[in-house]
Amino acid sequence: MKKIALNGAGLLVALFAAFPVYWMVATSLKPNREIFSATPRPVPAEPTLEHYREILTGNLIPGVTFTDFFLNSALVAVATVLLSGLVALLAATAVARFRFRLRTTFLILLLVVQMIPLEALVIPLFLMIQRLGLYNTLPSLILTYLGFSLPFAVWMLRGFVAAVPKELEEAAAIDGASRAQTFRRILFPLVAPGLVATSIFSFITAWNELIFALTFVNDQHKYTLPVAMTFFFGRDDTAWGSVMAASTLFTLPVIVFFLLVQRRMVSGLVAGAVKG
């Protein structure tokens, strides 16, 4: 009896959590007459890919397609990942491999800057982007997202570096390997999986961001996907089928990546904070 109650509660939670995601995908597969009918169908009766075809082939704005926005977003996210991964790896090595005077200060700095409300930085970063002449360019976003993703990336990566046994590097050093060689041949391959996990978080940060992309880029050809979606979605008669198809395409990579690394997210935010 108790077991049934628990399982029932479990099913309710599962429904509440997963339903919107299901509904997004289901709607994207329905023909318009099902979407706008008076009685919603839980499952598409005649599933169709017409909405996907529509957004992938049609021009959202004259001359610009969904694929263009997708590529803009991908370009920004990948550049952010590469830059942030490189810088974070160096810093994480410093923190995990060396004891130096300002180490604790640096760790506290990392914690504190993660708490800076990024929303409060839109105006001063807008000023910086204007001054640097980067307004209306994708690099303005890459630069911004690098700053946002870096503190968490270092915080997470230092755990992976610390997990590589020091003895391996020492053995390599004894065999005559230089510092750079040890780093490249020993530490880097062993930290690589951690680097991938960290990169996924940087990717998601950059991929999902809306406010800065909305503010720093005015040229419709350079819109990232989130900005294009709000634009696309802001029209009066909302074409829900296409909006849901676009949402699904936007969400899918994030969900796949996220599921790959979610466990580290918890330890990064909670348990990771506890370990010195």
Binding site: A18, V21, V122, Q130, F250
Partner: protein, 327 residues
Amino acid sequence: MTTLTETTGTGAARETPARRRRRVDHLPYLLLLPCLAVIAVLLLWPLGQVLMMSFYKLDSVRQLRGDREWPWVGLANYAQILGDPFFRTVLRNTVLFAVVTVVLTMIIGTLVGLLLNRLGKKMATFVASCVMLAWATPALTGTIVWKWIFDDTSGLVTWLFNKLPDGLSTTLFGRSDWTGYGWFNDPLLFFAILTLVVVWHSFPFIAVSVLAGLKSVPSELQEAARVDGAGPWRVFWSVTFPMLRPVFGILVVLSTIWDFKVFTQQFVLAGGTQDRSTFMLSIYSYAEAFSPPPKYGLGSAIAVILTLILLAVTALYVRMVLRQEDE
């Protein structure tokens, strides 16, 4: 390490570590340099800039580009905001929203965490996977879907309310036909839906963290308490909660910080920055600065106020983490 090098015995090997020890002095700083530069230029410098900008009257992009001068106005921007009754509405909206959302997120998240801990293995995996979906969904698309669910003509909620028996619907809400009902027009209803969306996005993190906490403490104590006849309520408050107190502390602070500066969900639900009655601090600051006519100085002052509030909460967070590290 020293023992290893001593056993190798050759002169060259003995020199290498010694040389390295000398280099160690500046190598870590060198490795940190790019990271520190990024943090300084892209986070700390703008933080200083926003404070500085809040003391100026900045009304055009040309001022930002440096083509026009910046008139210093001292605290006038702050005086204008704090003297405006609208600011009090915004502050009340922000605080109330954060409090309600944090409380609901914590309660639902904790309950789901406890539930996941009690379910059988297969069921727990299934429920956890569904919960992960809500967590993984980007704020933007998650909000768009909820907006579709609350659509005034073909939305699921509109359909559900239309399904209510007409008499019941009329006595309860004063209407039986819900088609065309603007769910987002009434500020209170808007905030209720916004809370729903944000709680939906954020309870998974709490649930998973609480579950991780539960797995890390021995379950014997709870079982013992149960055998001694304690009900679930008693077991939670007397046994489970005290053990997980540090985790709860951090979770509450993190949630508070996140919910104080909600932007994307509000921006998408409200369809932009036109609906001033539902403003909260972050969107208020943004709208003042970027909706024409631009008022960058005023927006900066609001951003500074938001930052100060969050700084207080952050101080609390850092103290908690440091105290845990001591233990």
